[in-house]
Structures are given as C-alpha cells and as structure tokens.
C-alpha cells in the first residue's frame, strides 16, 4: 500500500502550497487514474511516491516505509517505478536492451539474471522486436514502452506514470495504454496513472480528482463522470458518452450518464431511439 497522510508541500515561500493536505491511498493491485487541471498538484504528488520529493508536513508511506527514512530509499525506489511525460528525457543508452538493463546493472544484479529479466520486461511491453535498435529510431510510443520496460525489469510493485501519453499520437497512446492495463491485470502491478485524457481515466478501477493541491473527489469512473457539472466545474471534461446523455437530459430525456463505454452508450441510445 502507498499512503499519503495530510501531505503538505510548497515549492517556494511566496507561492501557494502545491499540496495542501492530501490524503491518498493506493491499495495493492489497483489501477488508479489521477485527474486534475494543470497546476493542481498531480505531478507533485506523484513525485512523493518514490521520494523524489519529501513532504514538508505529513507523511508518505510505501509498504510501511516512510519516504523520509534515508536508509530505505533504495527499497522504496525499487518498489515504486516512475515513468514521465517525455520519452526522450528518460532514455540513457544507445541500444534498447541496454537501456532496459540500465537500472539492473546499477543494482548489481547477476548478468544471467539481468538477461532473463530484461527479456521478460521487453516481452511484456511488446518492445522485444526492437531490442537491438537505437532508441532514437523508434516512435514516441515505442520509446515510452521502452521506458516502461526499464521500470518493469526492476520488478516494482507499483508503477507511477505521469502523463505518459501526452506527446503520443492516437496509435501510440492506444498501445501504451494497453501495455499499462496488461501490467495491472495480468501481472498484478499497481498502476497510478496521471492523465488529461478522460477516455484513459475511464478505464481505471478508481479515479482520484485533484484541485488546488487537494483531493476533491474519489470514485469509480461511473461515479465520477456521471457528475457532469461537477467535473466541468473543475476545468475537466467528461467522455463524450456521458456528455451526450447529459445534454439529452437537459432536453428532458432521461438517460444515464453512467453509460461511459462505447457499447453501453450505444445500447442506451438504441433503447432511446426504439423506446
């Protein structure tokens, strides 16, 4: 479990606190999406999960270890992997498989074990076929999956992704998201996904909405996105599937804004048209 309690953090004295009393829990095996407008503190929170930033007040615990415990830093970073927005800032080696092996080499893992783990990580993220290529010859989405493979090779229990698809095209986005979901569903890795894309958030088990340094709403995608007005008041958006039900509602037709998948929405509209 990752647990933040009354977390307070500010970048400078003059400015408002980036995090102003955040309480957040990620249970093992969950897929959580974190939503919020630019500047709401999402990324600051994410950086607390593996001790890149340390709390000013309050605590962050990873499986019972406080992130302020210097002697546990190594363990914490091995348990919680981070993937950032720009793939070009995260790749260090000149060959894909060397990049994936980078952390393991630094951890002093046996060479034969490294081979085994990176092969497995590259298989899981679908980049095995580019293992001998130079990263700069890959597309953004492919590079992002290489970055994820490098994290997976460390066998983390948690993976935190900070807008991993913001710079990708729809095809790249789709593949990265598919990879993230399979890590969660098939391999049981806990996923914390920060995103501006409502369709990505709609696929999570739970959504945490942040605003002005606080968690303001939590719930399943259905619970969150059915509250169209609330979501819009937080400078966010709802999937078009909820929006159409909401707009038809304003015209006096009673439809559920909880039908957020394409199939559910189509079924509901089908009934509406036939009903």
């Amino acid at each position: 479990m990752i647990k933040a309690t009354n977390l307070l953090f500010g970048y400078s004295e003059e400015r408002e606190k980036a995090l102003n009393g955040v309480n957040f829990t990620a249970e093992k095996g969950e897929f959580i999406a974190v939503l919020g407008s630019n500047g709401c503190g999402k990324s600051t929170l994410a950086k607390h999960f593996n001790a890149i930033l340390l709390p000013e007040e309050g605590t962050v615990e990873v499986e019972g270890m406080l992130t302020t415990q210097d002697d546990r830093l190594f363990d914490i970073r091995q348990k919680v992997g981070m993937v950032f927005q720009n793939p070009d800032n995260q790749i260090v080696a000149t060959i894909v498989e060397e990049d994936v092996a980078f952390a393991l080499e630094n951890m002093g893992v046996e060479p034969s074990e490294i081979r085994r783990r990176i092969d497995e990580a590259m298989e899981k993220t679908g980049v095995y076929k580019f293992k001998d290529k130079a990263p700069h010859h890959l597309s953004g989405g492919q590079k992002q999956r290489v970055a994820i493979a490098g994290i997976i090779a460390m066998r983390p229990d948690y993976i935190v992704l900070d807008e991993p698809t913001a710079m990708l095209d729809p095809e790249g986005r789709r593949k990265v998201l598919k990879t993230i979901k399979s890590l969660n569903k098939e391999y049981g890795i806990t996923v914390i996904l920060i995103t501006h894309y409502m369709d990505e958030a709609a696929q999570a088990d739970r959504i945490v909405v942040m605003s002005k340094g606080k968690v303001v709403k939590e719930g399943t995608p259905k619970e969150i996105f059915s509250q169209v007005e609330l979501v819009k008041s937080l400078s966010l958006d709802v999937p078009q599937t909820s929006e159409i039900a909401y707009e038809l509602g304003k015209l006096g037709h009673n439809l559920s804004t909880e039908a957020i998948s394409i199939d559910e929405c189509a079924q509901q509209l089908y009934n509406f048209l036939k009903g």
Binding site: G36, S37, N38, G39, Q85, S139, G140, G141, E163, A166, M167, L168, D169, P170, E171, G172, R173, R174, H196, M198, D199, S235, L236, D237, P239, Q240, T241, E243, I244, E247, L248, L251, I262, D263, C265, A266, Q267, L269, Y270, F272, L273, K274, G275
Partner: protein
C-alpha cells in the same frame, strides 16, 4: 483565389543514403483564403515536413509552394517576407520564449519586421488581447507563468506579426481540457475577426471536428483526402481503420449502425449528434414501429 498552393511537392530525408525516407510524395493542394484547416495523420505521415515548407523552413526538393499566387522561393524579394506572412507556431512553443518581459517577447516579431514603435505597441496589445493576457501583466516575466499561459504568450508573438496564414503544430499537447478549449477558441476568434487562414495540426479528432471548416488527412506522405469536415467524417470507418482515433461519439454512431439502425454516421460533435438522434426519433416515430 487560393492563399496557398502546393504543387507536385516531394521531399525525401537522407536522399541518396541507405536510410532514405520519403516524407512527402507528390502533394498537390490549394487552400482558399480564410479557411480553418485541420490537418491529421499518423506520426511520420509527413504533416510536419509539409508545414515546414509553407514558410520556407524547408526548401522543396521537387515541386513548389505558392503564396498569393507567387512562388515563395523565386518570386518574393526574400524568404523573410514569406515568413512574416506565414506564421508558424511549433510544438511546445513555450520553450522558445526568451525575453525578460512578456511585452518584449511578443514584440520581437513585429520589431524585426521593421515596424515603428507605435505600430509595434498596437500589435503587442492586440495580440495579447486575442490570447487573453491582460495589459497589466505584460511587464511581468514570461518565466513566471504556467505552461499554458507561456504557450499563449508564444502564440501571441506570432499573431502580433499579423500573418495571413497562421500555422499551429499541436498547440494543445499536454494541456488540460480547459486549457485546450481556451487556446482553440482564441485561435478561432482570431480567425473570425481577422479573416486569416488557419492551419491546425492535431492528433485530436475531437478538436478538429469542433473547429475546422476543412480537413486534410495525410497518409504516408500523400494527401489521403482534403474536404469539408462533414464529408471527412462520412468516411469515419476508414479513418478509424487507419488508426486515426476518431471521436468517441462517432464510434457510438458506428456501433448503432452495426446494431441495425439506419442512422447517419458522419456525426462528429455532440450538438450534431443530438440533432441526428432527435431527427431519427421523430422520423421513426419513437417505438411505435419497433
């Protein structure tokens, strides 16, 4: 008359080398003055190579670009004149800010055009207004702004040159939904009030559907289609197959059709979807014939 005309344009990266890649393959296109054009296509389809030709950042290997009927490389006194008329806003333009005040940053372009101080001042204020930066904020440093605000300053810097053609490459990448909406509606206002031509490159079909009059779909260095927005979405099924993330609402309508309803699937915005649904319901008289 068309403001931009692209004639037989081809471009190959690393020509003659083993890694040669054909980025543009005989493009022919005419853009009418005052159109809001959306450009979509996969990463690597040649979008960026194409737009870098429009203001002469890249020189055609074959073919030619015409601005107001004149070849930009042979019929203008210098390529600078072309660049003042075709303003290009790159991806992540906030990284290009450099001046000590917002005012000076926006003024950089018009100053280099050789305009007098009074005109520069007028244009800075006009551009700032379009992107929603209040006059009192202009003396502040651009580096104290948030990412979305910085981006709007960068766009204002181009608008201040009053280009005939404004080209924006993914202006909304990484912004939250409200930030996206703000930038795009400001660009749309600028387009409406000045009558200038806007070319918007985006991966978001939703954004293109909401703002563009015409859409250019590119595939593998070629023009796959260039037509009015409604017409483009009549082909939604194929666009989806090409991996061009069509709007969710379009997917819902394709699904309805699959479920056996005889309904139009060229739906690409929420208001249009509602109109189509209500029209269908009226025509088919609710459930009485079901």
């Amino acid at each position: 008359m068309s403001v931009i005309k692209i004639e037989n344009l081809s471009y190959t990266y690393n020509e003659g080398l083993p890694g040669a890649t054909k980025a543009l393959d005989n493009i022919n296109l005419e853009i009418e003055e005052g159109t809001f054009v959306g450009v979509i296509g996969h990463t690597g389809c040649g979008k960026s190579t194409l737009i870098s030709h429009l203001n002469g950042l890249t020189k055609p290997q074959q073919g030619a670009i015409y601005l107001n009927g004149k070849n930009i490389w042979t019929e203008y006194p210098s390529i600078r004149d072309v660049r003042f008329n075709v303003g290009l806003v790159f991806q992540y333009p906030e990284y290009q800010l450099f001046e000590e005040s917002i005012y000076k940053d926006i003024a950089f372009g018009p100053k280099n055009m050789g305009l007098d101080d009074e005109e520069v001042d007028r244009r800075v204020k006009m551009a700032a207004k379009f992107v929603g930066i209040p006059e009192y904020a202009l003396e502040g440093s651009p580096f104290d702004l948030s990412g979305g605000q910085k981006r709007r300053v960068a766009i204002a810097g181009i608008i201040a040159m009053q280009p005939k053609v404004l080209v924006l490459d993914e202006p909304c990448a990484g912004l939250d939904p409200e930030g996206r909406e703000q930038i795009l509606s400001q660009v749309k206002n600028y387009h409406k009030e000045t009558g200038s031509t806007v070319i918007l490159v985006s991966h978001s079909m939703e954004d293109i559907a909401n703002y563009a009059d015409k859409v250019l779909v590119m595939e593998q260095g070629k023009v796959y289609n260039y037509a009015d927005t409604e017409e483009i979405f009549q082909d939604a099924e194929n666009l989806s197959k090409m991996g061009l993330g069509i709007p969710d609402i379009t997917k819902v309508f394709l699904k309805l059709k699959e479920m056996g309803l005889d309904i139009d699937t060229d739906v690409y915005t929420i208001p249009y979807a509602i109109k189509t649904l209500l029209k269908y319901k009226e025509k088919n008289g609710g459930g009485h014939n079901a």
